[in-house]
């Protein structure tokens, strides 16, 4: 495992790919590997891309990556697709739209399925991002499943979040989902070649102007397990960033220059206002709580026999026990903290 980590750090692409599998499958040695990689992380600019299926996220990532590559910056891409709840399998077709990036050793694309993460940002996704970061990719795009919790969750791992809309998906204000404007650092109206694109862009701008969008800081802490009493340094300035709305036609590269400029402006803003540090601190905090929660749960489940759970569930169903008393009872079992 140590050799694999070293090889991945030394830009061995086969080793990197295998390490990503180790991380995704949580194979033996995964935690040691991640610990060894961790000091090499924290350098990448992580850009989340979210939006409904078919809005053009993969096409945009393709166009953006090409532009950043032309400027000499290396690009890692994580494309997340939904796991079928029926079979546990998945079809991941994001590479279809990313064929322009083939043959470029400065790009590494990895498709991953949500597996058991119920649409949220899984631990595996975070770890995969981290491996690419350690491997030295300067910019990492994370294309998420444009549905459910992952849409909002991506803002907990990305420094810059792009929300993609397209006309024709019920092109007015109602179609724009709650919470989406709050996580967007940059809004894109893709498929600007289609009728209704101007209306979509206008509706988005109007919503941004009239609303009092919660700051990113507030939103993240709402969704987190944790409600920090005082804001992180720089976060008051963070509320000043007003997400620009950029129109694009991804397959034709139209508007991509403007989009890159908007992304760069956001990144520069994060750095200059020191919001980047505050953001990272929050991400760490949320991740720590997520991991603690998972670890405590695993420990608890190990310490409490399955029959006990079955019995407790039965007693709740027969109204002998209420759910909260059941929790208290399980937590007070003698062997649960071993």
């Amino acid at each position: 495992m140590e050799a694999l980590v070293q090889a991945a750090l030394n830009h061995d692409r086969r080793a990197l790919a295998r390490l990503l599998t180790v991380v995704e499958n949580r194979r033996e040695g995964v935690d040691t590997a991640l610990a060894a990689l961790f000091p090499h992380t924290g350098r990448a600019w992580i850009i989340g891309v979210t939006g409904a299926p078919g809005t053009g996220k993969s096409s945009l990532v393709n166009a953006l990556a090409k532009t950043f590559r032309a400027a000499g910056r290396t690009v890692g891409i994580v494309a997340v697709d939904p796991t079928s709840p029926f079979s546990g399998g998945a079809i991941m077709g994001d590479r279809i739209r990313m064929r322009d990036l083939a043959g470029d050793r400065g790009v590494f694309i990895r498709s991953m399925a949500t597996r058991g993460s119920l649409g949220g940002l899984s631990r595996a996704t975070r770890d995969v991002i981290r491996v690419l970061d350690a491997a030295g990719f300067e910019i990492i795009f994370v294309e998420t499943v444009g549905a459910g919790q992952s849409e909002v969750d991506i803002a907990r791992a990305a420094q810059t979040t792009i929300v993609v809309e397209a006309p024709g998906l019920g092109d007015d204000v109602q179609a724009i989902k709650a919470g989406i404007l709050e996580i967007a650092d940059v809004l894109v109206v893709n498929k600007a070649d289609r009728p209704g694109a101007d209306n979509t862009a206008r509706a988005l701008k109007a919503m941004l102007e009239m609303g009092h969008p919660a700051t990113r800081t507030d939103l993240i802490s709402h969704h987190g397990r944790l409600m920090p009493a005082e804001s992180a340094p720089g976060s008051s300035a963070a509320s000043i960033w007003i997400p620009p709305v950029v129109s694009t036609v991804a397959p034709e590269n139209t508007g991509i220059g403007d989009l890159v400029a908007a992304l760069e402006a956001h990144h520069k803003y994060l750095i200059e206002t020191q919001a980047l540090d505050g953001l990272e601190r929050q991400h760490i905090e949320i991740e720590l709580y997520d991991r603690l929660q998972a670890a405590l749960m695993a420990r608890l489940l190990k310490g409490v026999p399955g029959e006990v759970f079955a019995d407790v569930i039965h007693r709740i169903q027969t109204r002998e026990l209420d759910p909260q008393s059941a929790v208290d009872a399980i937590l007070s079992l003698p062997d649960q903290s071993c």
Partner: protein, 138 residues
């Protein structure tokens, strides 16, 4: 050793023939069998296929070729995969392939050749076997 045994398969359509209905049917069948399928779309060059197989760390690569160009494309993909260090990744071919070519391909280390009549169950079974004995220990 690993708990998670999810099989990852790359389905690619190299060459110039322009429809991928068959490839999509296979992709769906594999998904429904619990596999993770990376589908790359039409007109892939052998280089693109080998590169995607490397980045995605798949257990098996399946090529769908209807153009008749299999004797040019398949050995080239195998060679590029080997050069990328993917000797332990199995390569399968589906399409209309004459009998004499089938044995030639198998002699080149192609792990399976499936004609139009093959049932998806056979393909799934074959892939499971390959993945079970395949390298990819990670």
């Amino acid at each position: 050793m690993s708990i998670n045994q999810t099989i990852r398969v790359l389905i690619a359509k190299p060459g110039l023939d322009g429809h991928d209905r068959g490839a999509k049917v296979i992709a769906r069948a594999l998904r429904d069998a619990g596999m993770e399928v990376i589908y790359t779309g039409l007109r892939q060059t052998p280089e693109m296929v080998a590169e995607a197989a490397l980045q995605e760390d798949v257990d098996v690569v399946g090529l769908s070729i209807l153009s008749g160009a299999h004797m040019a494309l398949v050995p080239r993909v195998r060679q590029l995969m080997d050069e990328n260090g993917l000797q332990d990744v199995a390569l399968l071919v589906g399409g209309i392939i004459p009998e004499e070519d089938v044995s030639a391909l198998k002699a080149m280390g192609i792990s399976g050749v499936f004609g139009p009549g093959t049932s998806t169950e056979d393909i799934i079974r074959h892939i499971r076997q390959l993945a079970a004995r395949g390298g990819n220990p990670g």
